[in-house]
């Protein structure tokens, strides 16, 4: 990414080849230095404290080397230089509160929804105790929740998830519980899948802009690379086969082995819903190159537009495709607003992948009491239907208000139909149409307008000026406050 970004000036065709490449380069590096300077200084690794141990065995003084961690661990603990994480950290220092801290930073950088908490809370207070404590015999028997259960989830749990997923996807596709593995959240789901489909050093193609968290989820431990496939606003950031071809060929020239394509649908951060045709094209491309397709459908129920959501599972059933290359990720963190519960799904048409993933669940299994809550919750069809209707309606309403508010300021958004955010074009507020300009605006939004929105750079977007704004944790009265603050920057 750092190589691609300075070349943006060239691609945009502004200022000529020399100026277009050199100036953004310099500014980019100066900005990186500036951001680096804001980090706390690393502790001096050579300094050893004075020894005062009692035992002679350990009184080695300065002759002991400092023990090291593995080279793959080294980058993990470093403070992140991604604006995605920087923004989240800044909010923690001064979080907005409607009553107690009206000058605080408003969080628009976290894709969370609190819109239907009232419904969930009511369900929990009525059902939580029973779902955990009760057994078939009616009495509390701790062995029901205390003992080892299959790490990948008993059939009952997988059936509940399969039914739920089918329901939220409009009943147009059914999920076979035996193709399913239950994980402790969406994050481990994507990592386990990466471990199963690609070796260390292989790569996934990924359309940009993409969810910043994928960088960690995929790269931290698997050693799999992410190769961006650039999408443009002219296509509403929808991936094209020609872009996929180009990225695949470039990877091959560089000697990178591409194992699969990873994308989210509804997409994050843009929020567009991929059409059946696009899904078909992606699968056809994957078939030609003999690679995997991973569809992250974590926002499947958070749809509010007129476009219907189509799961990759549905497209996979069409006969011409070898289904075994299709894998789907899901989790309850977004649609059901319960990220704290830690429950996700790997759904794969490949038997060996399911078997390997099952065995890997010992490292990331859902706690048994939580499983019981989920079985109860997901099987409560009446509640789920009520929830789905309210959830979609409330996101829709909030989306309309938010986008309308921005429109009043002359700020447009990308066309979207799903997700908990919108993809906002703030290029008109940039002092310079460049990554530097975008990061300056990001900083101004944080310090002057006191709003945390995720800049496109953090999502590897190739066009500057785009910001992801999450609106599903906002009350209606927060929106005018936000718009007033943004107005200050116009």
């Amino acid at each position: 990414m750092r190589l691609i970004v300075p070349l943006r000036g060239v691609i945009q065709g502004r200022g000529g080849l020399f100026v277009g490449s050199l100036i953004p380069c310099c500014l980019f590096y100066f900005l990186q230095l500036y951001l680096k300077g804001r980090r706390p200084p690393p502790s001096d690794p050579t300094e050893l404290p004075r020894t005062s141990s009692r035992s002679n065995l350990f009184s080695r003084g300065n002759s002991i080397g400092r023990v090291r961690v593995s080279s793959r661990a080294l980058p993990v603990a470093k403070p992140s230089d991604s604006p995605y994480y920087i923004g989240l950290e800044r909010v923690k220092t001064d979080p907005y509160d409607r009553i107690t801290n009206t000058d605080g930073i408003i969080q628009l950088g976290l894709a969370e929804s609190t819109l239907c908490f009232d419904l969930l809370q009511r369900w929990m207070s009525e059902n939580l105790m029973d779902s955990i404590m009760q057994s078939d015999a009616g009495e509390f028997d701790i062995s029901n929740i205390a003992m080892y259960k299959p790490f990948e989830g008993l059939l009952e749990l997988r059936v509940a998830f399969a039914d739920f997923m089918s329901r939220i996807m409009g009943g147009k596709v059914s999920f076979d519980p035996s193709n399913m593995v239950i994980t402790a959240g969406g994050t481990p789901a994507i990592e386990v899948l990466a471990f199963c489909l690609a070796d260390h050093g292989n790569a996934f193609l990924i359309p940009t802009p993409y969810y910043p968290g994928f960088e960690r989820d995929i790269k931290f431990r698997t050693g799999v690379e992410l190769i961006p496939v650039h999408c443009r606003s002219s296509d509403n950031f929808t991936v094209t086969v020609s872009a996929l071809e180009q990225a695949f060929n470039q990877a091959r020239k560089r000697g990178s082995k591409v194992s699969g394509i990873l994308f989210s649908n509804p997409s994050n951060p843009v929020g567009n819903i991929l059409s059946r045709e696009t899904l078909h094209d992606i699968l056809k491309f994957a078939q030609e190159k003999n690679i995997h397709v991973i569809s992250d459908e974590i926002f499947a129920d958070s749809v509010y537009g007129d476009k219907e959501f189509v799961s990759m599972a549905e497209v996979a059933y069409s006969e011409e495709f070898d289904k075994s290359r299709v894998h789907i990720i899901y989790a309850l963190s977004k649609d059901l607003s319960i990220p704290g519960f830690r429950a996700g799904v790997i759904y794969s048409f490949h038997e060996d992948v399911v078997n390997a993933a099952k065995k890997l669940m010992r490292f990331t299994s859902v706690s048994v009491p939580v499983r019981r809550i989920l079985i109860s919750l997901l099987s409560d069809v009446r509640f789920i239907e009520e929830y789905m209707t309210a959830h979609r309606q409330r996101i829709r309403d909030k989306h309309i208000r938010f986008v309308e508010g921005l429109k009043q300021l002359g700020i447009p958004c990308a066309v979207s139909g799903g997700g908990l955010y919108c993809w906002v074009d703030m290029s008109s507020l940039l002092t310079s149409y460049s990554e530097k300009g975008e990061l300056e605006l990001f900083e101004k939004l944080l310090t002057v307008a006191k709003i945390n929105a995720t800049p496109g750079t953090a999502c590897y977007c190739i066009e500057p000026g785009w910001f992801r704004c999450c609106f599903t944790a906002l009350a209606d009265e927060d929106i005018p406050v936000i718009m007033d603050r943004i107005r200050q920057l116009c």
Partner: protein
């Protein structure tokens, strides 16, 4: 080692591409170990499980180290003492909001404080635990794997004393690509680790051009069911300092030591050391699965004296978080000092009595066990029954015990024991009656053998 799945001709594909899509080495490798006898016995049990009433001649599971002896104490607590509080945490139902959204990899402060307090109690206050050094993982399995990712690179090695828990072959090696080099221990000194054995293992690794990153022990030991002596711990730490490597102590059975005074945690040794360069190589793994009998809850922890490891482990724990609901449920219980003190005391006592029952019963049948003082199992010596003191000889005997006596016990070879004829026998995952039945079957077997 596993190779990528070779391309097969598929008759299903009717287009011009006959290739089946490839999977990773991790996916096709057999490092998960589920084809070993350790797991084969479980399969036999699953197919014909013993039940006191419905299937009294079924296979008795003595290969699973689960603690069910103190369930009644937990049940009573969860049901009567504070059920609402357990569900929601101290705020009652409004706590749901925080519960649902909370996915911070730092973990709930109250829960970490409760874990720290519980770990201190187990060690009789001989060591202090700082809640901010506690990193939560979904079980000790995840904790051990996570630590391995952090301390070692692919093709590096951890030294592990034999015999060891069969699961380590999978947990420490599978996704991490790290190797295990065994530290050979034998019965001449009750399988304690010697400085010579340590040096020898280290040298073996060096000779094979493998970089050693640390030593990993279980204390109390699985499968030995015995605590590691204080002197041995000090020697271990000294060795790790000299070689500049890490020391990981998996203390998952620390609360299952029959007499508290007989357990020395590596935390006690480190407590008296101020030198950071010594301390920061020490890491402890713990979990509620064995001592508290709650394996289903998936609660494990890494406790590290190394700031960098704590920070790194926290971030990596995103892949294996403990649900906030579970943290809430357990926080109040573990902070209830009156309850935990009583639980720990009674649990130890019951385990001790079980141990004595089984060891006495085996003795009467003419079978000796290693002198143990902890854990949910005993280390039984059937070497004298082997026709041939080889791996095959041992596995033959294991098979006879499984098929004839219908007892699933774990053979020493699956624990990489260098002496043949040892078996791990679990006693805490069944009722006292079932234990008696198991002992009876062994008696009868030994009687039959004596007649020939």
């Amino acid at each position: 080692m596993g190779l990528p799945l070779m391309i097969e001709r598929s008759s299903n594909n009717n287009n011009n591409n006959n290739n089946v899509v490839e999977l990773s080495r991790v996916a096709v490798s057999d490092t998960h170990g589920e084809d070993s006898p350790y797991f084969a016995g479980w399969k036999a049990y699953d197919e014909n499980p013993y039940d006191e009433t419905h299937n009294p001649s079924g296979v008795i599971q003595m290969g699973l180290a689960e603690n069910q002896v103190s369930f009644d104490l937990l049940e009573t607590y969860l049901e009567k003492k504070n059920p609402e509080g357990s569900m929601w945490g101290s705020k009652g139902a409004p706590g749901f909001r925080e519960n649902a959204l909370f996915q911070d990899y730092h973990g709930l402060k109250t829960f970490r404080q409760a874990m720290a307090s519980f770990m201190e109690q187990i060690r009789g206050g001989k060591a202090r635990f700082d809640p901010d050094r506690i990193v939560l993982t979904a079980g000790a399995t995840a904790a051990n794997e996570l630590l391995t990712f952090i301390l070692a690179d692919p093709n590096d090695a951890l030294l592990v004393p034999t015999p060891y828990y069969p699961g380590f072959d999978r947990d420490l090696r599978w996704r991490t690509g790290v190797k295990i080099v065994p530290i050979h221990c034998d019965s001449s000194n009750n399988f304690q680790i010697t400085p010579e054995a340590l040096e020898s293992a280290y040298q073996t690794a060096r000779d094979a051009n493998i970089r050693v990153r640390g030593v990993l022990i279980t204390n109390p030991s699985n499968p030995l069911g015995a605590t590691v002596q204080k002197k041995v711990l000090e020697d271990l730490l000294d060795f790790c300092v000299r070689k500049n490597i890490h020391l990981v102590s998996d203390e998952i059975y620390s609360g299952s030591v029959f007499h508290a005074s007989e357990f020395t945690s590596v935390a006690e040794i480190v407590e008296n050391i101020d030198d950071v360069s010594v301390k920061e190589r020490v890491h402890i793994v713990y979990s509620l699965s064995k001592d508290l009998g709650l394996p289903g809850f998936r609660v494990g922890t890494i406790y590290s004296y190394n700031d960098n490891v704590v920070r790194t482990a926290r971030r990596m724990s995103s892949f294996t978080l403990v649900s906030s609901q579970t943290q809430h449920m357990l926080a109040s219980m573990l902070s209830d000092v009156e309850f935990t003190e009583k639980y720990i005391r009674i649990n130890r006592e019951r385990l001790r009595r079980r141990y004595e029952t089984i060891v006495e019963g085996l003795k009467k049948a003419g079978i000796e066990c290693l002198k143990g003082n902890a854990g949910l199992f005993c280390w039984m010596n059937l070497g004298f029954l082997l026709e041939k003191k080889t791996k095959d000889g041992e596995l033959q005997l294991w098979d006879v015990i499984l098929k004839e006596l219908k007892l699933n016990i774990s053979p020493g070879t699956s624990c990489h024991c260098s002496e043949f004829g040892w078996f791990r026998v679990c006693f805490a995952n069944m009722s006292e009656n079932t234990l008696e039945i198991a002992l009876k079957r062994i008696h009868e077997f030994m009687d039959r053998r004596r007649k020939f």
